[in-house]
Amino acid sequence: MANNGSSRAVGVGRVLIAVYAILALAATARSFVQIVGKFDVAPIAYLLSALAGLVYILATVALLRKGDTWYRIAWITIIFELVGVLLVGTLSVIDPVLFPADTVWSFFGRGYLFIPLVLPILGMLWLYRLRPVDTVPSAQS
């Protein structure tokens, strides 16, 4: 799986990607159960859960692929996740009725050992370390 220099799948980043893959599987599978089993309880929260799962899948793929476009997609998806976990995490603390405790991002990802909170930050650090410096000089500052 991606043994080339321009992919993000090098060194310790491989572990990051593996954790992303597991989280993508966990979030997508759980939202599937929620939507099939008890969609009426909290439709917005469960749809958001499904969206989060799909974005985790996209982030995993973007991290595995090489090239500037995938690099940008990786940034966008990871920022989306960080905003999501902060926003939904805060909302779930303020108004627990709005977000039941069993979505990926509720209480800052408490149900997932806070991995959803930590992972985007590690992902951004990783992407920053691997920023393309020698491709297009003006593309990234």
Partner: protein, 122 residues
């Protein structure tokens, strides 16, 4: 689910998981031991799959959502083979760490499966 079998699986997954992470961080590439241990976690999950199929016929039914239980179990079964395939393609120390991370994820999922089967809080 059978309680002692679940406990054995969780214990094995945690031991293998921590072991692989330590060996990986120590610089070991995936070898017969780490791959074999992860395979053992995978085989135990397949045994769990069989147990879960047979158990309801003997009156041992999940107390919680069967759907949620099965999604967890099927997801868990996929994880060790995926980690092993990764380790075979990409032979370096980080793949050993990934074997460990995969086993720990399986351990967490097994605990959740046990909760769904045996105890219902909500």
């Amino acid at each position: 689910m059978i309680e002692w079998f679940e406990n054995v699986q969780v214990a094995v997954a945690i031991i293998v998981g921590l072991g692989c992470i330590v060996l990986g961080l120590a610089g070991r590439t995936p070898n017969d031991y780490t791959l074999g241990a992860t395979l053992l976690v995978g085989i135990l999950l397949i045994a769990q799959l069989v147990v879960s199929l047979v158990a309801p016929a003997t009156g041992n039914l999940p107390t919680g959502s069967g759907l949620e239980f099965w999604v967890y179990l099927v997801s868990a079964v996929l994880i060790p083979p995926a980690a092993i395939v990764w380790a075979l393609i990409d032979r370096n120390r980080w793949s050993t760490v990934i074997l460990g991370v995969a086993c720990l994820a399986v351990a967490v999922m097994l605990v959740r499966m046990g909760q769904i089967w045996f105890v219902q809080v909500a």
